[in-house]
């Protein structure tokens, strides 16, 4: 369970400072699919980064299963991310010169796992996501949808308890986007916690809980009702 208590994030100083998050108090429950929904500039990516320990709040505290993340050093946070979290980015962030297998195995390389073992695990994850025949291909040779599935495979290979996806369908067509959302739903159903950042309320509708962000202020609520437009449209 991830808890944020009175979290603020301010970028810059003085008159030019941007208060991206304002006294955020939220909880990401274990095994739930949580969507962070908001318009562009609402602070949702910032919130995701803080939940995923990619960034630190300006003030406030972040707890992961009772452990205070804000008290950890950069190296400790890196170790925490390697063990506990998996990330899926809008821009995929795959290394184009590496093969699919090498990209997926990257968290395990960092963890110091033996080569044979990590390749086996990466292969298994890829097979599960229907990419078994793409193992030896370079990431640059894949389509957008395939790249995002490889990105998801990388986020899952080290068996994290939390998967964070930042606008994963942003660069995909609707078909691929739907497939990716279905995959994330499947991951959440398997017992992992999934946090989705999106501005698309249709994608947010897949989630069990929604954190609605507006101008840095967060409000937690249950799932979106079918056809509901949270922006009031």
């Amino acid at each position: 369970m991830i808890e944020l208590r009175n979290v603020n994030k301010i970028y810059g100083k003085g008159d030019g400072a941007v208060h991206a998050l304002k006294d955020v108090n939220i909880t990401v429950h274990d095994g739930k699919f949580t969507a962070i929904l908001g318009k562009s500039g609402s602070g949702k990516s910032t919130l995701m980064n803080i939940i995923g320990a990619l960034d630190s709040p300006t003030s406030g505290e972040v707890f992961a299963d009772g452990k205070c993340l804000t008290a950890l050093s950069q190296n400790e946070l890196a170790a925490y991310r390697n063990k506990t979290t998996g990330f899926v980015f809008q821009s995929f962030y795959l290394e184009p010169t590496f093969t699919v297998l090498e990209n997926v195995a990257m968290p395990l390389i960092i963890a110091g796992m033996k080569r044979k073992e990590r390749e086996e695990r990466a292969r298994a994850v890829l097979e599960k996501l229907g990419l078994g025949d793409k193992i030896k291909k370079r990431a640059s040779e894949l389509s957008g949808g395939q790249k995002q599935r490889v990105s998801i495979a990388r986020a899952l290979v080290h068996e994290p308890s939390l998967v964070l996806a930042d606008e994963p369908t942003g660069n995909l067509d609707s078909k691929n986007g739907s497939e990716v959302m279905a995959l994330l739903r499947e991951i959440a159903d398997s017992g992992k916690s999934v946090v989705l950042v999106t501005h698309n309320h249709a994608d947010a509708a897949c989630a069990d809980e929604v954190i609605f962000l507006k101008d840095g202020v967060a409000a937690m609520r249950g799932p979106l009702l079918p056809g509901e437009d949270p922006y009031g449209g």
Partner: protein, 467 residues
Amino acid sequence: MKITDTFRVSCHNIRHNLGRTALTTAIVAIVSALVMFLLLIGVSFRENLLTVARYAFSVSGATYTMSGAQVLDFHNNINVGPITEEEYALYKERAEAHREVCGDDVAQTNSLSLLESLNDAFLFFTGNFRGFQDTTTDDGWWVTPPVIYAKSFSSVPAGITFREGRSWTPADSGSNAIFVSREIQRRAENGGHIVHAGDEVLLLNLGKEQQLASFTIEGFFEGDDTPFYIGMDKLFELTSASDSLYVKTISMHFDPPAGAYDYDATYASMKSFTEEMSAALEQDYEMADLPGADIFIMLFSDITRRFVNNFVDQMRLVDVLSSIVIAVFALLAFLVLLLSVGSVANSVIISVDKNKKFFGMMKAVGLNARGLRGLVMSELLLIVTVGVLIGIALLYALFPVANSIIVTLFDYLWSAELLPFAVSALIPVWLPLSTVAFFLLLTMLFARGSIRKIASQDVMVTLSEVA
């Protein structure tokens, strides 16, 4: 992250940036070859110079032969004989411990050779000048007090006047003529012994070769207590307040080895050996009250100083000069390295920048700052090591040129015919290793800002810069 994986990832990055990497490696190769060439010339010059100097000094004479360590032993109420078996054994034992100093001539006790090497300065002993008896035995020499010291001069400084007897003339140099200092005469008188010009004195030579030489005191001279500096640079006197005097001499002969050796350490060993010997042999006796006690130190320090002055100092001078030469070449090499390391560092900076997205992603999935620095360092290490290896190959290709420079230089300074050995260039083992180390160190210093920035930068800032 495992080291093997770090290098594997770095190799991957190098392969996919082959053009830039090849150019950087070529720069490293050429620069390292040039740096090593300069250092090779400097080192070869120094080593060959030291060898030639050692040879030249040895050929110039026995200036580094420590030809006499005189052990003086004052002992009361025993008849004088040659060096005892026990003392000889003690000497041998000490000499064994200083084998490198004493060489094979462990216990020469030929004081005649000692005396010759002391440039005509010698000791003699006499008792009753008028009624001196021949007290030689088959076992050696007898000594009866008092001891009067005198010497034959090789030159007489100005201002010395003679009273009683005749004055010194250059014809006396090397002769058996004896001139005694007035001070010694006064001391002898104080001890109850009257010494006059015309008195006959006997040279007592203890040791295995028994020699007796008779001398006549030709005259006396006025001077201070330690008048002249000739040969060993010290004129010394012996007086004895005891009833008997026991003198023995042990000489050491040291031939330094032909190859390189630590002459400072050798000198230190010789010095400690003579001090050990004198301490061992004097320990049974009370030296404090005997005026000749200072002789030990004077003699040893005098002879060892002679060694130092003649050989060790010269070698030190050559050492310093050759070190200056090598320092100049090292400085040139360093400047070449410094001028070119910027381009290698630039390659690192470009690599870091081009791989920013990759590093950002790696950090997102758990790579810490140390791991990131390891990735950059391993890439740099691979480039520099391969570059220096190619540089070594280039150096070997240039070796005949370096050899030719050294041979020509030494032929110009000393004709090659005069040297019984060939001079040549040489490549020390540390040369390529130190070149790699310096290259890495300097490049990391140049590129550290860029590496530190990427290592400490927030993950999302890194990724957003390339998004």
